[in-house]
Symmetry: C2
Subunit: 232 residues, 2 copies
């Protein structure tokens, strides 16, 4: 019997926020894997899953997806990773690939799924709680109500214009990957006539440097920082 | 001991997509409740939770939040519902209020939480998988990758301009509450030079009339319809 590939969102960090289905599949799969940029890197998603599922009898597999600037190196690397997955599936192993948050939100798994499926294997995707839903719960602030829209914008070079537009048109904005840009976001809010202290920063939840509270320019924020803006 | 109020997102419909924490809290709470517009309405969220948690020994409580056009009627109704919750908490009952999808996405629970907390009670919000994450998983299509943004827009009177803007500025758009508006969305995509058949419609998952596939003007869609647009 050929194995099946699962792409599993394990949620934002709290192991209790894994789904029942994620747990059940992880318990059943002989191989639990995750993509890395270089060998031995480890995985936050795997660490979360390990708090719920006993991994001691599993084959734990890192699959290297290089971020080398050279296309040919990246391509060769991807090809090798997919080949190895398919070999494991041919041997009859079910593989669970774990992803932080939701599989649809900034994860590379969708590419893997498409590639493996195109080679004729069965796959399944299990969604997870995205970090911004957890942020909304912790901040006790809706992402949207009534007929409101929501814009999710990651801080990145070239996204300033998009964020400005979002602040213009949308009642609710989630700024992801915001850890270095909290000051910039505050400036942009002021430029749009919004009060930065109305924004809520959700940072490093459950980790060192956890902060959930109003935007404060005088703080330093950890790597996992999301800013929730809700117009009053 | 005064009880505690929990707001619980039970996910988009598949009971396996409930979180471990949601299940654990629901098993522990003596009262499981949900808001209704009128008595006896029932709750999809409660039906989902019932497939995972034995409700036979629980007090199941409907809390009426009227949608009456008269402010005074709505206010009186809300006040009565919150009072009843607080009485149950005073008696020492823990209450789990269940919500379809995520608590932050178009749910009235955040209002309840704020009100009950302001009266001095302890509360906790447990996020759930929003329908658009499930849609992305079923459609095997990312919500966003790399540095892309995502716009979530509900179809509603007055949101046409917002949806047009979203199609202009964002690489990815989720259109919620789309069941009556699939044709309109297709027209708008064409006006923006996008191919409607590139959009994916996710409709009535796990229910009668389930459809997950390319946008097709010649179909009828069920009440729970979401359209995922991803620019190529």
């Amino acid at each position: 019997m050929t194995g099946k590939l699962y792409g599993i969102g394990v949620g934002p960090g709290d192991p209790g926020l894994m789904t029942l289905r994620a747990k059940e599949i992880l318990e059943r799969c002989g191989v639990v894997g995750y993509p890395v940029r270089s060998e031995g890197e480890g995985s936050v998603a795997f660490d979360i899953a390990s708090q719920v599922v006993d991994m001691s009898s599993k084959t734990v597999a890192e699959f290297v997806f290089s971020m080398n600037p050279r296309d040919s190196v990246r391509e060769k690397c991807r090809e090798a990773a997919i080949n190895r997955m398919c070999s494991l599936l041919d041997e009859g192993s079910d593989i669970a690939m774990v992803t932080l948050g939701d599989v649809g939100v900034y994860s590379t798994y969708m590419y893997i799924d498409e590639e493996v499926r195109s080679r004729g294997y069965e796959t399944e995707i299990v969604p997870g709680i995205p970090s911004f839903c957890h942020g909304s719960a912790l901040a006790r602030q809706p992402l949207m109500i009534g007929d409101e829209g929501l814009a999710v914008v990651p801080m990145a070079k070239g996204n300033t214009h998009l964020l400005m537009e979002a602040m213009e048109g949308f009642d609710n904005i989630v700024v992801m990957k915001a850890f270095k840009a909290v000051d910039t976001i505050a400036d942009m809010m002021e430029a749009k006539g919004l009060d930065p202290s109305d924004a809520v920063v959700v940072s490093n939840v459950g980790m060192e440097g956890e902060y959930i509270g109003p935007l404060d320019r005088n703080r330093e924020y950890g790597y996992f920082t999301t800013v929730l803006i809700r117009k009053r």
